[in-house]
């Protein structure tokens, strides 16, 4: 059966915050934009963000400055963040937040009727001074409020949605330019080709490479797999954030806002141990720092429980009004998933995989970059990326809490703006897609549909997740990682031989999970290989055998290609409005 082709100005893969913000910019400029989303857009993982979105509004403290925010973000990234992109994000944060408010986002309010702002990790005044209240919040449901608002605005601006369509692979011409996407309608099993002058990947994270994660089942790194298969690199994939407060066992997130509102962590001696490690910011130090401290407590025998495998998040000293008004969602989550009422007893928590700092390398405008023969950045024509799947890079080696929602709206918008100007400069249509190009993009589906013998998808996924969990956690060593990589390579081979039990066309979720697993294993391989290669400790990448940051050898982005080849890119130190922030030791 011939595959149906549809043509648009722009295709966006992913209906989370970044995709929807980009779509809105384009729809409002009357571009024909199609959003391909494997779930109905409001089911995207942005919906799970709890604590807030950073912007230097100064609504609580009366003073704040985007330069302070920029400084905090750079230091938080352990200097691996690109300073041009961080500058752009922090400078445009207030505007981005006001814009969301104007769209109707139901932010919580302070007594003056302004947007409520709370304290969050690693956020300071005066370049490392006192804590600042910079995180704009809608109770502890900020992601929900943001995602629904963006979806609603897209309804208003008549964006075209292909809901429950799954993007399989990019379509490329002979010059590696991206001319479209092959996707499958999950409900009917029908394949479709979407061609456009610009394709935006906004496919989110890939936390499902780990066994325990705060991430949704659907965070499977689809855009990352597509990019690797298109022979383009991924960047900084060794940088995985472990959130200090995932509910023990379930992995469900308890927002950093719990500590921002006054909660703190204790060990089995009832000691507030963060005071000992980080006397200045204590429990509101950066996430990588707090997670490492919790793991040290656990490893040194001060963990809680019969296994001594977790710590406790204490909230019972907080005013009932604070819990009910500012943290209602986590009160419910703690009851459901930990069986505790946080107003009466502490919540058992442990560092849990939460966020992927690395991703598809892009420039400040969201255009995907590759290295040319001279090792210089070169844009990939027709391809953009934004949000968690992208590495622009504003998060470097460690993301600040509440900078992810900011990232998705600022760069979702800037991708839209960049595409509009590119479409206006370049009126020519994308080159027509050939049968051979479609066939190249359909290979994975064709294999899965005809394979008779092989292994089952869900089982292999679990095997991979357990390897990553055991070998690539908060603390890493050469020996443990090398062993993990050997096991992972074996799984990688086996994933090439999965077999479907489900041969139906109608809503074949096993088929989708098989395609997702092929992306996950690539992401896991990239993460493992780059983690083993980076012989230093920086941000979330903490090596016991290389405990210090090594700026001389490792102050650079790392790149990974599908054939296992690695490369490097320099960190951008060229902000345009301020002097670059020089490298210093991080202290909280």
């Amino acid at each position: 059966m011939p595959i149906q082709q549809q043509s648009f100005d722009v295709i966006i893969v992913g209906g989370g915050g970044a995709g929807l913000r980009a779509a809105l910019q384009l729809s409002q400029a009357n571009k024909r934009v199609a959003v391909i989303s494997k779930v109905f857009p409001t089911r995207s993982h942005t919906v799970s963000a709890q604590g807030g979105i950073n912007a230097a509004l100064g609504n609580t403290d009366g003073r704040d400055d985007w330069r302070w925010h920029m400084y905090d973000t750079i230091v938080g990234s352990d200097y691996l963040g690109d300073q041009d992109a961080i500058e752009y994000m922090c400078q445009h944060a207030p505007e981005a937040v006001y814009e969301l408010e104007h769209m109707g986002m139901p932010f919580s309010r302070n007594q003056q009727g302004k947007i409520y702002q709370r304290a969050f990790g690693g956020q300071t005044q005066d370049f490392g001074g006192d804590l600042v209240h910079r995180t704009c919040a809608a109770a502890d449901r900020t992601g929900h409020a943001l995602l629904h608002t963006l979806y609603q605005q897209n309804i208003k601006s008549k964006t075209i949605f292909f809901s429950e369509w799954y993007a399989v692979d990019l379509i490329q011409d002979e010059q590696q330019n991206v001319t479209g996407v092959l996707a499958i309608d999950i409900a009917s099993g029908t394949l479709g080709v979407f061609s456009a002058q610009a394709t935006v990947l906004a496919t989110g994270g890939a936390g499902q490479i780990f066994y325990t994660t705060t991430n949704a089942y659907t965070n499977t790194g689809d855009g990352l797999g597509m990019v690797l298969r298109a022979n383009l690199p991924l960047q900084d994939m060794e940088m995985w954030q472990f959130h200090p407060t995932g509910v023990l066992g379930a992995g469900v997130l308890i927002t950093e806002a719990a500590r921002g509102e006054g909660g703190y962590l204790i060990n089995n001696k009832n000691e507030r141990y963060m005071e000992r490690y980080a006397p200045h910011l204590k429990d509101l130090s950066c996430r990588d720092v707090v997670s490492r401290c919790s793991m040290i407590e656990i490893r040194e025998g001060r963990g809680v429980g019969s296994e001594g495998d977790h710590v406790l998040l204490k909230l019972d000293h907080l005013d009932a009004k604070v819990l009910n008004e500012k943290l209602p969602g986590i009160v419910a989550l703690a009851k459901t998933f930990a069986g505790v009422d946080p107003s009466k007893e502490p919540i058992p928590v442990t560092p849990t995989c939460h966020y992927m700092m690395g991703g598809i390398p892009t420039d400040r405008f969201g255009q995907v970059v590759k290295l040319n023969a001279q090792g210089e950045d070169e844009c990939v024509r027709g391809l953009y990326a934004a949000g968690e799947c992208a590495s622009v890079s504003v998060h470097g080696a460690n993301r600040l809490g509440a900078n992810s929602l900011l990232d998705i709206v600022v760069f979702g918008r800037s991708v839209g703006v960049a595409i509009i100007s590119s479409l206006e400069q370049n009126k020519q249509q994308a080159s027509p897609i050939t049968e051979a190009q479609i066939e190249a993009a359909s290979q994975r589906i064709l294999r899965l549909r005809k394979t008779q013998e092989g292994e089952q998808v869900a089982h292999l996924r679990t095997v991979m997740q357990k390897i990553m969990q055991e070998h690539f956690g908060v603390f890493r060593t050469e020996e443990v990682m090398a062993e993990g990589l050997v096991q992972l390579k074996a799984v990688y081979q086996r994933v090439g031989h999965t077999k479907l039990s489900d041969t139906s066309q109608t809503f074949n979720t096993e088929l989708i999970e098989a395609l997702e697993l092929e992306n996950l294993i690539l992401v896991a391989m990239a993460s493992a290989e780059l983690a083993l290669a980076r012989q230093e400790s920086r941000g979330a990448h903490a090596r016991i055998d290389f405990p210090n940051r090594d700026d001389e050898n490792w102050f650079k982005h790392s790149l990974y290609y599908i054939d296992g080849k690695q490369g490097q890119r320099p960190v951008n130190m060229r902000p345009s409005m301020v002097d670059p922030f020089p490298l210093k030791e991080r202290k909280y």
């Binding site: 109707g104 009727g113 608002t149 089942y217 066992g249 469900v252 459901t336 998808v457 679990t462 479907l500």
Partner: protein, 238 residues
């Protein structure tokens, strides 16, 4: 309930092979479940018994609204319904009733989304300040209990008025969203929104049964919201 082994009966229907739907029984080892929720049970069936079982899921923590289904006769989200809360020998899982079944536990929500879109669920106000709109603490507090809907459709699927008039009555979820914008101090189209809900069906088919409130996994109360819209209509004399 014997917690070593779960007895589960799941609604199965694949339009490509089945003439009609049927219930299929599984005995699932508790040790095969990664967690303690109904969703963990479904994942265990898919991994250890039958990879063809189809259901939606995403966040796994009750905020995305993907896995609304009928659990032992009551609508709820599989990911936040603890297995230990379920009574009876056999756990019965069925798709959300009143929607067309696509396959197994997956229903077609097109009509539900259409109703949602028809209430113009977006803020309308043409004049915006340079910074944020000032909205008092009290004005914002009015939106609590209105904005948190996750579009899981548990309520609309439980509503008898929706069963009879799915195409004409908006249903509890869409009306909750309507209320969220009617009550927002920043919205300037309140009167037009109220006007839009006039007539025999769109709003007024609600009979106050309250099933929506009883099943809402987020603890929201669409019945009250519908009541509040009616009261506002009277007070503002549309």
């Amino acid at each position: 309930m014997n917690t070593d082994l779960y007895h589960v009966s799941v609604y199965r229907f694949n339009p490509e092979v089945d003439k009609k739907p049927y219930m299929k029984n599984y005995q699932v080892k508790a040790s095969d479940c990664k967690g303690v929720m109904v969703l963990d049970l479904l994942e265990a069936i898919k991994q250890h018994h039958d990879p063809t079982l189809s259901f939606r899921r995403s966040c796994g923590e009750g905020v995305c609204g993907s896995d609304g289904m009928n659990i032992n006769g009551k609508n709820g989200l599989a990911c936040i319904t603890p297995l230990s809360d379920l009574e009876g020998k056999v756990i019965k899982l069925r798709p959300l009733l009143s929607f067309p079944v696509v396959r197994d536990l997956i229903v077609d929500l097109s009509q539900f989304y259409k109703q949602y879109e028809s209430v113009q669920p977006y803020l309308q106000n043409d004049t915006m300040p340079a910074k944020e709109n000032v909205q008092s603490y009290e004005e914002r507090k009015v939106l609590d209990g209105l904005y948190e809907c996750i579009l899981c459709a548990c309520c609309t699927s439980s509503c008898p008025s929706s069963w009879w008039n799915m195409d004409k009555f908006l249903g509890p979820s869409a009306l909750l969203w309507a209320c969220r914008f009617i009550m927002d101090s920043r919205d300037t189209e309140t009167m037009a929104r109220l006007e839009d809900l006039q007539g025999l069906y769109r709003l007024f088919r609600c009979r106050g049964v309250g099933m929506c409130r009883d099943v809402c996994p987020k603890g929201l109360n669409p019945t009250q919201a519908i009541h509040d819209i009616r009261e506002k209509m009277l007070r503002d004399a549309v």
